[in-house]
Amino acid sequence: MTITRIPAEIEDQLERAAGVSRRTFLKSSGMLVVSLGAGALGGPLAAIAAAGPYPDPDFHQLDSWIVVHEDNTAAFFVGKTDLGQGTGTAFRQMMADELDIAYEMTSCIMGSTDRTVDQGGSGGSTAIERDAWPMRRIAAEARRVLLGMASPRLNAPIDQLTVKDAVISVQGDPSRRVTYGELIGGKRFNVTLTGANINATTGVAPVKRVQDLHIVGRSPQRYDIPAKVDGTLMWAVDVKLPGMVHARNVRPPAAGAKLVSIDESSVNRLPGFVKVVAKGNYAAIVCEREEQAIAAAKAIRVNWEKPSSAPFPASEDLYVFMRQATPTSAEPPAVTGDPDNAFAHAARVVTASYDFPFQGHTSIGPAHALADPSNGQMTVYSNDMKSYGMRNGIAEFLGMPRDAVRVVWMDGPQAFGRTAADDAGFEAAFLAKELGRPVRVQWTRQEETAWDVKGPAFAFDFRGALDGDGRLVALEYGARAADHNHLGYNEPDTVLIAQLLGRRRASPARGSAGLPSEMYAIPNRRSTSEVVSLPAIWESPLRTGQLRDPNGPQITFASESFIDELAAAAKADPVDFRLGLLQASTEDDTAFRRARSIAAIKAAAATYGWDARPSPHRQEAGAVARGRGIAYAFRKQTVVAEIAEVEVERATGRVRVKRLVCAHDCGLVINPEALRRTIECGMQYALSRALYEEVTFDSEKTTASDWISYPILRHRDAPEKIDVVFVNGDPNPNRPDLPHYGAGEAMTKPMVAAVANAIFDATGVRLRRVPFRADRVLAALKA
């Protein structure tokens, strides 16, 4: 890979500032039907201008990351995408702080492969935890370079200079001053950075100490929100190009069905008909106008041949199938102590099994992309969270040089992993190449709900041993995930169109189940983690991939429900029982994580006003039963403890969550108000998974296909009160603060268990299968 240049857009910006416009905005007057509303930097209009090729911006050039303008503003170019959690605002805060420039005088440009360095886009809650570090270091380096430039100009040594809001002045003599814009506005830094890879990229300047950060820790409003509220934001769904046509996919009626023939006469006289594209089992209809493509996709007659054997069991038979299946892969059992001996001498043994269904992303906006094959290149306008990976994947998929392909990232409906394997982008590029015209692909609601990427179903089996004092002395955990052939990130041999075209990778990804992420000190443990396969793993709507906090809600539902069952068996308060398990010592060095666990659980309990007593709650047998439940988990270095308060209608089984509490410790908080909202939303998101979400299917297709058959949380289900408390309380008083960890997913982990535990507290009935829809709860109450 040759990396020699800074993004063309930045070159343009610099050259325009210098009065030399090398590049012309390619036919920009005629290129766009709708005004793109582009700013000086960052709007897609500038991206459309560049005809390619599109080599990688060089992350070792400071100029690829930061541009200072003559008006003393700065633009930050980062290789990330913001999925709606405000990471762009956080990056601006962190870089502005290191550069010593007012937040308001900065902007942030994200995620387009020819304009921003490849930081991988988004995923894994790594934005703040990992990717912000090179941004901070590079901004600090820019500040160092600017001070070096100012020193001769102000005729003062660097250590006598001070910076405030991008103005450098001599200490004690503020009349001797120079602005960043005066020093370098419109000019290149020409500074080469070092570091073995993009995450290690650095200059020589150190980052600031936490105590010296002033913009970090404040809550500027998210810069992306006004345009999302006044209707001026151009989303990836909004881009229109001259000559653009509209495509709709034609999906198989059953998993693994073979496309035998298409009766083109069923559509070729319809208005606006352009083409039917069919190859392997992939088919699409293309029309001039969108409503024409929709009508044609309904009218088209296709002869499909269903497979001779069922691709999967029906959803009601899933867990029996999973428990009987021979695993396709298994982790070696993780054993500590002597669990067999501990169980043999236990005062009491508790067993329980839990089931967690396939759940979908069911994005509010179905998959979409626009691909433009102009100039022998391929430009894809997409909301792909991993735009860089899509660029690589499409280049390989189409057999095009990487430099001929770019992905222009634009805002889109929430991704949460869905666009890590972005089918529509590959389909649009495929069709654009076939037609030689810009093609916009838009999935339907039914298609998205049925065929999007699923979080794997799980079956769990537990055994726990209590001693005579009610202490947990042994725990057996067994997890099975239906996750064989787990999708990768925008792989040209696993995205749906590749599967339907018959591409097969040599060996399917083995998938994973995983282990609980609590820090309980239990002297004897045996944990097994296995993956099972459904009969069909290709061309299936039950293909699994990344769903927000992959496997976390499933595993934590089971593990934190079982801890609650053990607490109840020991007649112990659920909070006290957990704290007891965290205060015990073990040989491994986990004291710090235990201390943070204790702090989070105590903070949640204090915020809620938790009264210590065993579950279930003794109460009058009225129409409504009330209870509260707690659960906690780590996600990497972030720890959360959550409490749910529920009301259960005894006559209907309806569960209403009245109140949620989250104690959250993700280390240094960049933007407290933005984080608070992300946590609130993430908790409600997990609540939706707890109460409603299940992909149902018969033995050949998913039967969940819209918002009726795949219900989710609605306004009337929202909690009346949500308390979010930031713990970030390092128990070590000698340490100023923790680093900034990730916060995009951790809050989803404990919620399902907290709700299950609250329902048990309210009713004495343990729900061991997700979701807790009213009919299931009612059946459990009557059992």
């Binding site: 509220v229 209707g231 001026t232 509010i364 939303c681 939706s688």
Partner: protein
Amino acid sequence: MITLTVNGKRHTVDVDPATPLLYVLRNDLGLLGPRFGCGLGQCGACSVLIKGAAMRSCLIPCSAVKDEVTTLEGLARDGVLHPVQQAWIDEQVPQCGFCQNGQILTAKALLDKNPDPSDAEIRDGMSGAICRCMTYYRVQAAVRRAAALMAKRTRTGDVR
């Protein structure tokens, strides 16, 4: 030829009369507020205001529209955001924001009919507007804030 009045302007478009209003607004008139979410009238992302009600533009044939259509772009007056929009910014409601067109227009229609809704009325009145990021809690706070802001503008004679 279909004639539509949208955000105070008359437009004539040459489309199949059965074309859902959504596609005319987006593809012929270049509006960005209403978005495709389901095409089934289930989610609210495509909402527009017609005669004060939040309607699902994905289901309405454009030829059936006789009254003025107001989209998200049409809420602001003289460059000043509608109180609902201002409340949305003050409350920092959106995550991804894709559904917020429907949330905002549903809230406006609700408040126009019921300027001082109870919490229960807000929850029921908003329940047709689905949000997959689950911004519901903040949306409801923003509706309360917007109600207060609208009452204040009424008291002070600010008719925007």
